[in-house]
């Protein structure tokens, strides 16, 4: 006679779908899925009805049509006879340009400000606190407009650069800040300039090989080799030698003011104030956030680490480079990624100063001219989404590599 009876096998009852935790999850998910599908069906139905009523269709053919508008700043050749697709591409490149410039500058500014904010120097640390708080607590849009106003109100007109004793002078004799934009010198590729490029690539490779060799030797024998000086020499010397041998194939085209007629600069590249303003404002704004991240990262490394490094006889510079930074980086990298993403997305504020980014071309003029709101915004959103996913994907891989070194 067995006491332990078989567990009662009762027939499945519908009530179990609600009250039995084994089945409830499935019920909830099915209900959620049904609701979601119903919602999507509702939205799509409305969309179809609305498009039909307005006499519109869903078609990306408009991208091939002639754009018919001019863009002030382009990285690739573009005229108003080109297609909307090319205009969108110009916008995309402009967005990526300002985002790239901004990320680099913001990182430099942010690291500098974050380290200086921890400095013992009272005035410097206070100044950095003021910088960080001022930029973190005031909207970015306002900074962009403000920097733009400074650039166009507080810089001289091109006429001021005229004459023997001009009122305004170029920075280092090369860069002219005017209220019509900043003029920078451009590189002119002469005969044999490609050899120069090959030499540069080869020296970079050589420097990398030397670095790897030095590291392997130090790991094997404990003897350090000078990496910095040798790399610098490898980079500079061959380049300089070829440059002189080939007879200076690479020259700078420095902008010069026309002394008569309309005050314009000849030569060089004109960087519109809208780009400069956007770049400076984005860099300063994001730099303030990065400064806080860097400060937090350095503070997160416990004091014992630097004390131990000093006890081992490492100098402050090496302590920072070999002990503190590698540990701080692990804390710093993930929020840094999201700051880069934020900067890229914030570059869409370009519309406030009239910089032709993708939001202003594809999501602005093209959309208004063709009346293709749905398609334009869809493409626009897709572009930003893809950029975001790529940046966060790449950075996540890097982050994983750094994190692996943990115990």
């Amino acid at each position: 006679m067995t006491i332990a009876a078989e567990p009662p096998r009762r027939a499945f009852r519908p009530g179990q779908l609600l009250y039995d935790t084994r089945y409830r999850g499935i019920t909830i998910q099915v209900v959620a899925l049904i609701l979601l599908v119903a919602l999507i069906a509702f939205l799509v139905r409305n969309l179809v009805v609305n498009l039909h009523a307005l006499g519109k269709d869903f078609d990306f053919g408009f991208l091939g049509n002639r754009a018919g508008y001019d863009i002030g700043q382009t990285l690739i050749p573009y005229t108003n006879n080109d297609s909307h697709a090319r205009a969108a591409l110009v916008g995309i490149l402009n967005t990526l340009l300002v985002a790239g410039l901004g990320c680099v500058t913001a990182t430099v500014l942010g690291v500098l400000a974050g380290v200086l904010r921890l400095s013992k120097n009272w005035i410097v640390s206070r100044l950095m606190t003021v910088y960080v708080e001022a930029f973190r607590n005031v909207p970015l849009l306002l900074w962009i407009v403000l920097v733009y106003a400074v650039l166009s109100e507080a810089t001289p007109a091109p006429t001021a650069f005229r004459g023997e004793d001009a009122e305004a002078s170029k920075l280092f004799g090369l860069i002219a800040f005017t209220n019509r934009g900043t003029y920078i010198p451009s590189l002119v590729w002469g005969e044999g300039a490609s050899t120069l490029g090959v030499v540069l690539v080869l020296s970079i490779l050589a420097a990398l090989v030397w670095r790897a060799f030095a590291r392997r030797r130090q790991e094997a024998t404990g003897q350090p080799l000078p990496v910095l000086w040798v790399s610098l020499a490898l980079l500079v010397l061959p380049f300089a030698l070829t440059f002189l041998l080939l007879g200076a194939p690479l020259t700078l085209d420095v902008p010069t003011i026309r002394e008569t007629g309309i005050a314009r600069f000849n030569g060089g590249i004109n960087v519109l104030n809208s780009l400069v303003a956007l770049w400076i404002a984005l860099a300063l704004y994001t730099g303030a956030f990065i400064a806080e991240i860097v400060r937090g990262g350095i503070l997160a490394v416990s004091r014992g680490q630097s004390e131990a490094a000093f006890a081992l006889g490492l100098r402050p510079g090496r302590t920072m480079r070999l002990v503190i930074l590698p540990q701080a980086l692990r804390v710093i990298i993930p929020p840094l990624i999201s700051q880069y993403l934020n900067l890229t997305k914030n570059s869409s504020l370009a519309v406030a100063v009239g910089y032709a980014d993708v939001r202003a071309t594809l999501g602005g003029v093209t959309m208004n001219q063709t009346g293709r709101e749905l398609e334009s915004i869809l493409l626009l959103g897709l572009f930003y989404l893809v950029v975001s996913l790529i940046i966060s994907g790449v950075m996540n891989i890097y982050n994983r590599r750094i994190a692996l070194k943990e115990r």
Binding site: L51, S119, I123, N137, L142, V145, G363, L374, I377, L389
Partner: protein, 437 residues
């Protein structure tokens, strides 16, 4: 030994020296300056650089700001006064623009006779939120919170009082049904409350409000959303976005961490799509695209559309912050809740969320600051926020060419709000930290 004693005693001094002050350079201000400003070559350079930077930045700005002229009604009047006071060509701020356009900057085009309403609405909001923010206030004040949204909507947009009252009655009805059916199971009670309140809102609320209005016409002058502007608009969008996005964010974070595959994937897709695209594009969607996705003929207020969009946007960011808090909670807490036999919602409400929210407070407040700053973006879809308002003022004949004064004013107001929020978050963090020990 005695020899030694004798020798030492011979050298011993029998009177105490009077205490001497520390050397000049090792005390007081001099020491502080030496240690903090000039302790090494690098520091000396940095100090000089900082001083030069300060001087370069403030040399022109400070005199300009302090010479500022407050009593003027136009740029030309400003110039006349400046020429009288300081002479031609001296730079002087013209703060008169803020004094004379104060009302537009703060209230937009809100009717002049009704200007008491937005501040009162803000006070009601603060009263409702204070007991949540500061735990040492009497708990009874919490009863204000459910009534506040209706009062605020009524104060801001006006109209007969019975509209909000009738809408609020729906919630009361739902609560009554919930209580009555609670003994028959949570699901039954929830569905019952949902059905009754939805039916009430769909069929009864409007006639009821109309009937009550005809019996007792109590109300305020209606104000159109288009008349909202200036900081009132920023604060309305910001505060409604903040208070609506928090519960949505909590739900999204829970959904993302849920073990149910479909639910968590829906949440992941939602969060990543929203976060991957800038707010400007979402505002563009709200402005031009939303009407495509709604039944034909629906056309609701742009301000409402913006608030909904901003809420949906901020919720994704807050969800990520809270997810971090949920992940940081030790697993033992979840297991302890299970061991006590608590259901999912009980465990979340009593054990998990209070701790997770506490951990994520700094992040939440940062998202709120970001959201409040982002309200300036609505100027791009032509709502009259402070930024657009200042360009409008600049476009008038009286104030053409006034840049810095308006920007500085707008920046200062935003700074005060955001700085206060960040200080509050630091204070709260420290207070909660202490309660742990």
């Amino acid at each position: 030994m005695s020899d030694l004693d004798a020798q030492t005693i011979a050298y011993a001094r029998d009177t105490m020296l009077p205490p001497a002050p520390p050397p000049r350079r090792e005390a007081g201000a001099v020491r502080w300056v030496r240690e903090n400003l000039f302790s090494g070559p690098l520091n000396i350079i940095l100090t000089l650089l900082a001083l030069w930077l300060l001087w370069a930045a403030l040399r022109d700005v400070l005199p300009w700001a302090f010479r500022g002229i407050w009593r003027a009604d136009s740029v030309s009047e400003c110039r006349t006064i400046r020429n009288e006071l300081y002479g031609e060509g001296v730079s002087a701020a013209c703060w008169g623009v803020i004094r004379s356009r104060w009302q537009q900057l703060v209230f937009g085009f809100y009717p002049s006779s009704e200007l008491w309403r937005p501040p009162l609405a803000l006070i009601v909001f603060l009263l409702a939120i204070l007991p949540v923010l500061f735990a040492n206030l009497p708990r009874r004040l919490l009863w204000l919170a459910p009534a506040a949204p209706f009062a605020i909507v009524w104060l801001l947009w006006g109209g007969p009082i019975w509209g909000p009252v009738a809408a609020a009655l729906g919630f009361v009805l739902a609560w009554v049904v919930w209580k009555a059916l609670a003994s028959r199971g949570l699901l039954v009670a929830f569905l019952g409350a949902l059905v009754v309140s939805v039916l009430y809102w769909a069929f009864l609320a409007r006639p009821l409000a109309a009937a009550l209005t005809s019996i007792l016409p109590l109300g305020l002058t209606p104000v159109r959303s288009a008349d909202f502007g200036g900081f009132t608009l920023s604060i309305v969008i910001g505060l409604s976005g903040i208070s609506l996005s928090l519960p949505l964010g909590v739900l999204l974070a829970l959904a993302r961490r849920s073990e149910m595959f479909i639910i968590s994937k829906i949440a992941v897709i939602y969060i990543e799509v929203i976060r991957g695209v800038p707010l400007i594009v979402w505002l563009l969607v709200a402005q031009v695209l939303l009407n495509y996705f709604l039944p034909r003929g629906t056309n609701f207020d742009i301000l409402l559309r913006v608030i909904i969009m901003v809420t949906l946007f901020a919720a994704a960011y807050i969800a990520e912050v809270i997810r971090g808090g949920l992940a940081a909670l030790p697993r033992g807490q979840y297991e302890a809740a299970d061991a006590l036999g608590l259901g999912y919602w009980q465990a979340m409400q009593l054990i998990v969320l209070p701790q997770a929210l506490k951990i994520s407070i700094p992040g939440i407040v940062n998202s709120f600051i970001g959201l409040f700053k982002d309200t300036t973006l609505v100027s791009i879809i032509s709502l009259f926020d402070p930024m657009r308002m200042s360009s409008t003022i600049r476009a008038t004949t009286e104030w053409g060419g006034i840049y810095w004064e308006l920007y500085i004013f707008v920046a200062a107001v935003f700074f005060v709000f955001c700085f206060a929020m960040s200080r509050y978050s630091i204070w709260l963090e420290q207070r909660l930290e202490r309660s742990h020990r």
